[in-house]
């Protein structure tokens, strides 16, 4: 369960609203079931008390919503940021994508978010209600008694391999600060690297062929904030609405991953939202790992204003062939 409670967040937000420090709150809104939570802008205390939630299913990263919210709202926007969200927040500031003065950021600790598919794998389908407590209690149509699920067993992939419990940006912190973790997030990349090219090709072929080009990965990505995406621009020559074949499936994902390389904070939103469960994070992490290995450790968003590896160079960088040879 989460260490700070929803009522703590609501009370704090209500106080900031009532003293006029902020004029809107970006938060998670109760859905139809207990897990389908929607990002929403709350304008007053009543709205917060009616529908604001904070539980094990609040995965949405609000950083990108600040682009629109700070332009729309008069006064400051209060935003709740989980540790991984703060990296995206900083990265967007590095790219001058929103006005920091219009935001009041509250850092909140996060114990990891649950993946509903993994919950269902344990509880079965037909969920009637979910109670997030010490354990997650799932009541379904097909089980007589609620099924207990441990959060640790149903974490989203990005949370199971959490890179940091430390908030790198906030105006105020609720609860305790955490640390940057020694994450195993590159293990799967290394496993893929250890495969033969044929195996790797088959792996990606299988995953990418499921892509329906809904653009959810792109549209949710805090690093994808171009006014006009090259894939939407008829003048670009690569505009493409649906993957006509395997080439176009690969093209989109390679170019997208490349374009966010060095700016991707590995927040994992792309993989979370993919309706086809394509492990998109493995593309982003490959770039991060390669850049770390060849150009020195770099974490996008760790600080505002840092220079990403692909907009930087040294005189003695390895050659492309060396990068490949080094890995064998």
């Amino acid at each position: 369960m989460q260490k700070v409670t929803a009522s703590q967040l609501i009370d704090r937000a209500a106080a900031l609203l009532s003293d006029g420090s902020v004029s809107a709150v970006l938060g998670w809104k109760q859905g139809e079931f207990d897990y389908d939570i929607t990002p929403a802008v709350f304008a007053d205390e009543q709205a917060l008390r009616d529908a604001f939630v904070w539980n094990d299913f609040c995965g949405a990263n609000f950083s990108k919503y600040l682009l629109k919210a700070t332009k729309k709202v008069d006064g400051k926007v209060l935003v709740f940021l989980k540790p991984c969200d703060t990296y995206s927040f900083n990265q967007l500031l590095t790219e001058h994508r929103f006005d920091r003065d219009k935001v009041y950021a509250i850092g909140i600790p996060c114990e990891g978010m649950a993946d509903i598919d993994k919950v269902k794998a344990q509880s079965g389908d037909g969920i009637v209600s979910i109670a997030c407590g010490e354990t997650i209690q799932v009541t379904t149509l097909y089980n007589d008694a609620p099924v207990s699920v441990e959060l640790a067993d149903v974490l989203e992939e990005r949370c199971a391999n959490c890179k940091s419990k430390k908030h790198v940006a906030y105006d105020e912190l609720l609860g305790d600060e955490g640390d940057v973790l020694d994450s195993a997030r590159f293990d799967e990349v290394a496993q893929l690297e250890a495969m033969t090219p044929d195996e790797r090709f088959a792996f990606w072929q299988e995953h990418l062929s499921r892509c329906i080009r809904c653009n959810a990965c792109r549209d949710v990505c805090p690093a994808c904030t171009c006014e006009k995406c090259v894939f939407d621009n008829p003048a670009s020559g690569v505009e493409n609405k649906a993957p006509a074949n395997e080439f176009e499936e690969k093209m989109f994902h390679i170019i997208r991953a490349f374009h966010v390389a060095g700016r991707c904070t590995d927040c994992g939103e792309c993989s979370r939202v993919c309706p086809q469960n394509i492990p998109l994070h493995l593309l982003n992490r490959k770039f991060i790992k390669d850049m770390n290995d060849n150009y020195g450790e770099y974490q996008a968003g760790a600080e505002v204003g840092s220079r990403a590896p692909l907009v930087d160079f040294t005189l003695d960088d390895p050659e492309a062939a060396d990068v490949l040879d080094r890995r064998g």
Partner: protein
Amino acid sequence: MQVNGEFKPLIVAFCCNWCSYAGADLAGNNRLNYPAEVKIIRVPCSCRVNPTFILRAFQRGADGVILCGCHPGDCHYTSGNYYTRRRMAMLFSMLDYLGIERERTRVEWVSAAEGAKFAATMNDFVAQVTALGENKRLEDLRCKK
């Protein structure tokens, strides 16, 4: 592409205007042979080459793509090729990660004086890609006749 039953790879060579393109010119002036399957695309600087160019070249039927620029330190624009070096290292590593033969891509630094190196590089690269055979993993069937 198949010519008289024999596989002749189509190679796209992106050459920077200041060094490598001049190097290719010199190779020509010196009557140094390199295969006609190498199609040169002149770019103002090697760092003009966007990853989409490389992928599009494969889409449009290339069996191998080589990028040639000034030697590090010699860039006409001071630092363009340093950026190229990082970008292409990352891109080619990613292509390899997706299981695409790493021998299909190469970066080579060729100066305006290195006509011989240009010809030798192209001969070597064409031989390397010929050994691999046709590009199947990054092909777009619509573009194959």
